[in-house]
C-alpha cells in the first residue's frame, strides 16, 4: 500500500470545489483510496460525502493511501490537486 502526507494550502480547506476535484480524480482509478488525518482511520476517497465529512481545514495534514495498479501515479496526481491553492483550480 502506498501512502503520502499532504499539508492543505491556505484557503478554506477540503470542501465543495476542491473536494469534488479530488474525489473525481480518485473515482476514476481502480485503486482503493483513502484519506484521513494522521493516526486516524481514513475515509473512502471516492465518496464526496465522506471527504466533505472530514471537515479538513486549511493548514491541516492529511494522509492519502492507495492500493492497486498505478497507486504511486495516482497519489502523485492527488497530491497535486490537494496542494493547489484555492482559486488555482479554475
Amino acid at each position: 500500500m502506498a501512502e503520502i502526507t499532504v499539508t492543505l494550502p491556505p484557503g478554506v480547506g477540503l470542501h465543495a470545489r476542491p473536494a469534488a476535484l479530488f474525489v473525481g480524480a480518485a473515482a476514476k482509478s481502480s485503486c482503493d483510496v483513502t484519506i484521513g488525518r494522521p493516526g486516524e482511520p481514513g475515509v473512502n476517497a471516492k465518496s464526496i460525502l465522506g471527504v466533505m465529512g472530514l471537515g479538513a481545514k486549511a493548514g491541516e495534514e492529511m494522509v492519502v493511501t492507495a492500493e492497486g495498479d498505478g497507486a504511486d501515479e495516482l497519489l502523485a496526481s492527488l497530491k497535486e490537486i490537494l496542494e493547489t491553492p484555492e482559486g488555482g483550480h479554475a
Partner: protein, 562 residues
C-alpha cells in the same frame, strides 16, 4: 355573489392573469417504513437506478446552465453517485426496507453529519435535501419538487417559491403567481415585479386549489377569483389595459409629481447585466449597486483590478447620472469563505454589513480603492454608502476609511437599523446622504426575520411604525441639508412610493420592472396629495389600515389599475 369564490392576499405585482392552476410541488412525502414489493436485491437496484437518473438529470441541467452553476450541479451529481451513500442504502434494503425508505434514511444520516460541520456546509445540506427529494419522488412515483413542465400558459400556485425553483422559469408560460405564504419582500414578490408578472402572496386557501382550476389573479388588488365569470375577466382586463396605457403615456419621463416636484427614480442593480433593462425603463441613475454580488460564490476575495473593471463598466453606463454603490454587505447569513465569520446563533443581529468591514478593514480598503479609481475621469456622479450603520461612531469610521482610500465621492450611510433612524439628526452631521433600506429596517423594527414565513405579516413596510421611522430619517436629513432616498422594496409599491414622497423622501430606487408603475403613480398626484396620504397612513393603527387610508387620498390609483 357567494364569497367562497374569492381569496384575498397581498397584491405585490400589479396586473391581471387568468388561466389554469399549476401547482408547484413543495414537498415530497416521507416514505413509509416496511418492506417493498421486490426482493432486497431488487429494492437496492431500484434505489440505485433512481440515484443514477437523478445524477444524470443534474449533469444535464448543469450542461445547459454552464458556468459556475455547472460546477455546483456536477458536485451534486457526484453526491447522488456517492459509494458510501449507496452502502448505507444497501444495508437497509438488505435488512428488509423498501427502496424509498432506505434512501430517505441514508440521506438523513449524511445530512446530520454535514450539519455538525458548521455553517459553511449549510448550503451543501440544501443540495443534499434536493437530491433526496428527487430520488424519493422517483421511487414513490410522485412529482419531483419544483415547477412542473408547463404545457400551456398557467397560473403558478405554491406555498412560496424558492430561488432554485425559479432559475429556469419560462416567463412566456406564466400568467400570474399566487402563493399561500410570503410577503412583499419575499423572493416570489421580487421575482414577479422583476418579470412584470401579476402576483398575489400571503393568500390563504390557494394551496387547496386543485390543479387545472381556472382562476383570475388580480395583482393590483390582492385578489384571486376562482372560476371567474367571463364578464369579470373582461372588466378587470379592461382596467389592466388602462393601467398599461397610463404607463405607456407617462413614458420614460423623469420622476415627478403632477405639480412638478421632482423625485428622481433610480434602479437597484447587482452588476452590469442589469443595466440594459434599467436604461430601457428610464432609470435616472442607480440608487443601489449591490457590490456584494461580486464577492459571492467564490473562495477568494476579488482583486482590486477585478473590482475596478466591474465598477468602471457600471459607472460608464451611467455617465452624466448618479450611481450609489453600497459597499460589501455580507454576514453569517451570507458567509464568504475569505472573511472570518464565527458561527452565530442569530446572524441577522451579528457581524454583518459594515461590521464585517470594521473587522477586516483590508477588504474594505481594497474595495474603496477600486471605487476611487473607477470614478476617475468620468462625469458619473459617484456616491458610496455603507450598509448596517448603527451610530455616529460607525458613520465616522466609514468616512475615514473612504478618505484613506482617496475616494472622491459623496459618502453616505444606509438607514436600516431603528437606532440610526431615531438619531438621524446626529448621523446627518457626518453622513452626506441617507438611503433607507426598508426591508432590513422592517425586519429590525419588528424583530421579524425576513426569511421566516410565519412572521411575514409584520414584514410589511406599510406598518405605521416604519412610516414613523422614515419620517424621522427625512427630518434628520433636512435638519442637515442632506437628501434621503429609499432603496428597499417599499419604493417599488406605487401607492407606498407616493407616501414616501409625502414623508419627505427625495429619491426612490427599485428594480427596473417597478419603475413604470411608480412613475405613473407619482405623475398622477400632487405633492400635496402625497403629503395628505402620508399623514393619513401614519394616523392608521396597522399596515392594512395605513394602506387603505393612503389609497383614499390617492384618488387616481384605482383608475390607473395600480
Amino acid at each position: 355573489m357567494p364569497d367562497l369564490t374569492t381569496l384575498t392576499g397581498v397584491g405585490v405585482s400589479p396586473g391581471v392573469g387568468a388561466g389554469p392552476v399549476v401547482r408547484v410541488v413543495d414537498s415530497v412525502p416521507e416514505p413509509k417504513q416496511g418492506p417493498g414489493s421486490g426482493s432486497p436485491e431488487e429494492e437496492f437496484a431500484a434505489a440505485q437506478a433512481a440515484l443514477e437518473a437523478v445524477a444524470a438529470d443534474l449533469e444535464d441541467r448543469g450542461q445547459r446552465a454552464g458556468g459556475e452553476a455547472q460546477h455546483v450541479l456536477e458536485a451534486q451529481a457526484m453526491m447522488a453517485r456517492d459509494p458510501d451513500l449507496a452502502g448505507q442504502i444497501k444495508q437497509r434494503t438488505a435488512a428488509g426496507s423498501n427502496a424509498a425508505r432506505a434512501a430517505y434514511e441514508a440521506f438523513g444520516i449524511t445530512r446530520e453529519m454535514l450539519l455538525t460541520l458548521g455553517e459553511y456546509f449549510a448550503a451543501r445540506v440544501t443540495d443534499l435535501d434536493d437530491i433526496r427529494n428527487r430520488t424519493v419522488a422517483r421511487l414513490l412515483d410522485v412529482p419531483p419538487p419544483g415547477i412542473p413542465e408547463l404545457t400551456e400558459p398557467s397560473v403558478l400556485v405554491a406555498m412560496d417559491l424558492a430561488p432554485a425553483d425559479t432559475a429556469l422559469i419560462d416567463k412566456s408560460m406564466v400568467l400570474a403567481f399566487a402563493t399561500q405564504e410570503g410577503g412583499p419582500t419575499s423572493h416570489t414578490s421580487i421575482l414577479a415585479r422583476n418579470l412584470g408578472i401579476p402576483a398575489v402572496v400571503g393568500c390563504r386557501g390557494v394551496r387547496e386549489l386543485a390543479p387545472g382550476t381556472r382562476v383570475l389573479v388580480d395583482g393590483s388588488n390582492g385578489k384571486v377569483f376562482i372560476d371567474p365569470p367571463a364578464d369579470l375577466i373582461a372588466r378587470l382586463a379592461g382596467v389592466d389595459e388602462k393601467r398599461r396605457a397610463a404607463l405607456a403615456a407617462v413614458g420614460n419621463a423623469p420622476g415627478a409629481t403632477s405639480d412638478g416636484h421632482a423625485v428622481p427614480l433610480l434602479v437597484n442593480i447587482g452588476g452590469i447585466d442589469d443595466v440594459e433593462k434599467a436604461l430601457a425603463n428610464g432609470a435616472e441613475g442607480v440608487g443601489l449597486f449591490r457590490s456584494e454580488l461580486l464577492f459571492l460564490d467564490r473562495t477568494d476575495a476579488p482583486s482590486e483590478d477585478e473590482q475596478y473593471g466591474l465598477y468602471r463598466a457600471v459607472l460608464e453606463a451611467f455617465t452624466g447620472r448618479k450611481v450609489v454603490v453600497r459597499t460589501l454587505d455580507a454576514g453569517a447569513d451570507k458567509p464568504l469563505p475569505f472573511l472570518p465569520f464565527g458561527e452565530e446563533p442569530n446572524p441577522a443581529m451579528g457581524v454583518r454589513g459594515l461590521r464585517i468591514c470594521m473587522q477586516a478593514p483590508e477588504i474594505m480598503h481594497t474595495q474603496l480603492t477600486a471605487l476611487a479609481r473607477a470614478g476617475e475621469g468620468l462625469d458619473t456622479e459617484l456616491w458610496v454608502m455603507a450598509p448596517m450603520v448603527a451610530d455616529v461612531y460607525e458613520a465616522r469610521w466609514f468616512k475615514e476609511a473612504c478618505k484613506k482610500a482617496g475616494l472622491k465621492a459623496k459618502i453616505g450611510t444606509m438607514v436600516e437599523i431603528p437606532a440610526a433612524a431615531l438619531r438621524a439628526e446626529h448621523l446627518g452631521q457626518v453622513a452626506e446622504f441617507f438611503s433607507i433600506g426598508s426591508n432590513d429596517l422592517t425586519q429590525y423594527t419588528f424583530a421579524a426575520d425576513r426569511q421566516i414565513g410565519a412572521v411575514a405579516r409584520l414584514q410589511d413596510a406599510w406598518q405605521p411604525a416604519i412610516l414613523d421611522l422614515v419620517a424621522a430619517t427625512t427630518a434628520g436629513g433636512q435638519a442637515n441639508g442632506i437628501p434621503t432616498g429609499v432603496c428597499g422594496e417599499a419604493a417599488s409599491d406605487p401607492a407606498l412610493a407616493c407616501v414616501l414622497v409625502g414623508l419627505g423622501v427625495n429619491t426612490l430606487s427599485m428594480s427596473a420592472g417597478a419603475l413604470p408603475g411608480v412613475r405613473a403613480a407619482l405623475a398622477a398626484h400632487t405633492l400635496d396629495d402625497c403629503q395628505r396620504a402620508a399623514e393619513a397612513a401614519r394616523g392608521a393603527v396597522d399596515a392594512e389600515a395605513a394602506r387603505a387610508a393612503a389609497r383614499g387620498n390617492l384618488a387616481q390609483l384605482e383608475s390607473l389599475g395600480l
